[in-house]
Point group: C2
């Protein structure tokens, strides 16, 4: 089924520990767009994005259009997105690949208190509110949280 | 005054454009800890963090303690935090330093729809729920959103 994780969110593996989440959130996230990729299930997603990978298209919501001004001058972009299928309550996890139980903050697993991913991608083109990039590895339909130019060694691309 | 930005949030500079934010948030963020730094105002904060900078202490909330298991094996950590004093409604900004009006997504300014910062820091020590790091540049009292090991070229530090 499109956009479903490859295993149910309720699966707990040996060694894993779930805790009670806080009763309420402390701040709100706006989903500002949608990421289009070729991958409909977690099993299909590459283990990590590659600059040789397919072009993926970030569709920004019209409301934020003007905020793209000047983005095309940058070659590398940091993308933050929301891993909307991930459970948030595991403090210890046992990754399938290693079988070794480890703390959530010692992993880059999607399962974490705030399921925000950070990826650096090559910017291919900006056309209206469509941003073409290479290097993503997320599910089709993933909500976009932020875009920033990659920080460079010789200067900050515009602090306030 | 501690924790206040160095200029009022309502300041709009020449060329800047504010829009109406969405009526409601799409997802909720849990603040999972607090970042302790020497800097009480934006004016005091360094322009960017440095590995030669002072040790800062991330105080993780007790609820997430077990999730630190194994973190001390990593030398470099990515820290996500919430820039809680930043306004969220500017799509065009005119940074003080350059005076050039640019789109929000072409800047790393704290002012953005979702004011999440990403920093890479050197891990100094993990003691209970206190994590000492070097390389931050944020205000004292900044809410913590996530900790992840830095991604390395030769392998992924634990996907799920």
């Amino acid at each position: 089924m499109p956009n479903e994780p490859s295993e149910p969110a309720s699966t707990i593996r040996p060694g894993e520990v779930a805790i009670a989440l806080p009763a309420r959130a402390d701040a709100g996230i706006f989903f500002i767009g949608t990421i289009r990729t070729p991958w409909q299930t977690r099993a299909e997603c590459p283990k990590r994005g590659s600059p040789d990978g397919p072009i993926c298209t970030i569709e920004l919501d019209e409301r934020w259009r003007a905020a793209l001004t000047g983005l095309a001058d940058h070659r590398r972009v940091q993308v933050l997105y929301w891993m909307h299928h991930a459970r948030r309550d595991l403090v210890l996890q046992t990754p399938y690949r290693t079988g070794k139980t480890t703390g959530t903050f010692a992993l880059r697993s999607p399962v974490r208190p705030n399921p925000i991913a950070s990826a650096y991608v090559d910017l291919v083109a900006v056309t209206g509110t469509s941003i073409e990039v290479r290097g993503l590895d997320c599910l089709d339909g993933t909500p976009l949280v932020d875009l920033k130019p990659e920080r460079t060694r010789d200067g900050e691309p515009g602090t306030r």
